[in-house]
Amino acid sequence: MSSHTHNHVHTIADDIKDKTFQDVSLCYQCGKCSAGCPVRYYMDVAPNKVVRLIQLGFYEEALKSTTPWLCAGCMTCSSRCPQEFDLAKFMDAVRETAIEKGVKVKDKDIITFHKAFLNQIKSFGRAYEVGLVAEYKLKTMHLFDDVDSSPGMLLKGKLKVLPHNIKDKESVKKIFKKTAKK
């Protein structure tokens, strides 16, 4: 799949390009992405700096940062980047790489949430909120965080006690299996 010559080491930057077609060398570090990022203040490394770290080969620093996990995927950055670099997609790839490399993520709750969410889909084919919240809460031990909204929601029929099942659950499971990382 790689188009690089044999004497070229396949770097994480190349891998990101393979995954998402985003070439980090496009970025000229103007910072416009970071300036417009809604969650910039919560991140430990500014989004443009994550690109910079990858450009320079400081992969560990980039993969360890909370930035990719806090990125909300809103694409504000991507749509404003003067160089048409899709930073949101790049962040996806950084996260994916971090998981692949088994990097310890500082903001564990977010990854736990995503895992819980995907587990629901894997099992039922659709998101099942009660199960999702339950699994997430058990894993993170934030047991009473959402008390202010959940019971009401159950009453209003907004959270269902039973999961939504789709018929062909197997086909969804298959997708998970086929796309699973080795």
Binding site: Y28, Q29, C30, G31, K32, C33, S34, A35, G36, R40, Y41, A46, N48, K49, T76, R80, C81, P82, Q83, E84
Partner: protein, 665 residues
Amino acid sequence: MKIGVFICHCGENIGRTVDCPRVAKACEWLPGVEVSIDYKYMCSDPGQNMIKKEIIDKKLDAIVVGSCSPHMHEKTFRKAAVAAGINPFLVEITNLREHCSWVHDDIEAATEKAIEMVRMSVEKVKRDQPLTTIEVPVTKRTLVIGGGIAGIQAALDVANAGYEVVLVEKEPSIGGHMSQLSETFPTLDCSQCILTPRMVEVYQHPKIKLMTFSEVEKVDGFIGNFTVTIRNKARHIDEDKCTGCGLCITKCPIRKKAYNSFEENLAHRPAVYVPFPQAVPNIPVIDETVCTHYKNGKCGICVTVCGREAINFDQQDKLVTEEVGAIIMATGYKLYNIDKKPDDSIYKGYGEYGYGKYKDVVDGLQFERIASASGPTEGEFKRPSDGKEPKKIVFIQCVGSRDESKGFSYCSKICCMYTAKHAMLYKHKVHDGEAYVFYMDIRSGGKMYDEFVRRAIEEDGVKYIRGRVSKITEEDGKYIVKGEDTLAGMPITIEADMVVLATAMIAQPDASTLAQTVGIPYDKHGFFNEAHPKLRPIESTTGGVFLAGACQSPKDIPESVAMASAAAAKAMVLFGSDKLEREPVVAKVSADLCAGCFLCKKVCPYGAVEVREVKTRDGVVIKEIAYVNEGLCQGCGTCTASCPSKSVELAGFNNEEIFAQIAAL
């Protein structure tokens, strides 16, 4: 036909890898070759003399020289041939050095190749036709298109050398963008003060024919011999009668219907107007789109007040033709304006900066007008929305430039400088004001330029922040500017009273149309292309058309002026002789073969193919055929390849000559 072959060793250069004596020997056997010899330095005097002697002694008809690239010494050997009495176009050069000895190591293979190369040349030279250089007369007049500082300078230089100039400007006055500027970097001298005398000089110059409010419609002809059709748009005012008293302007009741484009729409103008007080010529124009007379036939106040009976509502556009020998393009630039939405624009525009929604977010030229003593605020810094003095201004650089997604990929080159100037001018007037500049890089190459930027930072306390702005929003009359300081690695939010966007210089919107009219190439952005980026930056690839100023790429005033003088000099080089000589590599149509399909006419990039009627003796047209105008043809041969009946051929590169080379393989 007797052919002589001369193989040069170039000292060791060819001789080391090509066995020159063997090549010469092998070529002796080629049919038609009378003599084949090798020599150490063919281009040296003894070498040339040897060639001449052989030509005369052996009565040669044509020669082949196996030496360096024809780009090197073709001229030398042609001259020698002419001196010995043969036509210069019966000389073929085989490039044994650049294309053989220097690029190969293997003596055997290189020698083999050299022999084949010479053989190809011999076959070609056998079919070469004697050609005579084409002579064309020169009209010693120059057309300058565009009356900005570049056009003004070029016109004055040519006129001062004693040649006539026709200067065509599409606006009612000359002066271009420089007349809009307040003060100019890096010296901060008043733009109008240095420009106005030049404008007047143009107006008064006996050798300059000035046509304002005019546009070039058509250009026919070729280098030395252009015929230009110019449209003089109707001003509705008789230029000969008007004294420029301005009474009509002051009395016109229509005052707010039209924006004043000279003031970058920061002010209004009446229906009858001159663009600005120092306009040259100082003759007004009536704007039909807003004048009451053109709506309902009423008003006519201007007619009443004009003591000179100069107003003429019925005046029509006039087409005039001028003969010139050279054309100088000086049509300048346009500024990228952000009040453009994607659907009505070639570029995407800045929605995040509001698409010009906010009144106090202005572009570079608007700020020039605000800073200008003759501008709408008389040089006081007042913001457009409420006329209050801004206490905090944010400048944003690289807007529309270095931004492929919103505008253009190139660096507009002058905006770093003008932003520093703007910030400085502001700080000089508003001492308690704050100025912030968001920049990506500071590009200030030029004499005293970087010092100028440093002065803004060190002496005037302008705060430079490295990073781009992501978004501007308005809140209670303040503009919230959100940017990033990439050096500190911090987001920065500034509540500004005014924002100035350093928008890019872009090509005039009609530049490509004009380029097609004149027949010169332009780049993908619409700037005119030079013939060679380094060695012929002033010339276009079309003979006799030269470039000056910002129409070629973003430029500041000194560069525009330098280029203008250079273009003037180039035009005068043409005028140095009465006749022009051209290589006779031109296409020619065989009248017998031509089927009159005119495919050639369609593909010719120079419009050199014309339609000719073939008549019987008594004047009956029997067919139409193609005819190549030698003056226009640049010898590209595109027509020859497209002709289905092979009836048009390029002299010096005709099919037979090329087939012969192929056959000699």
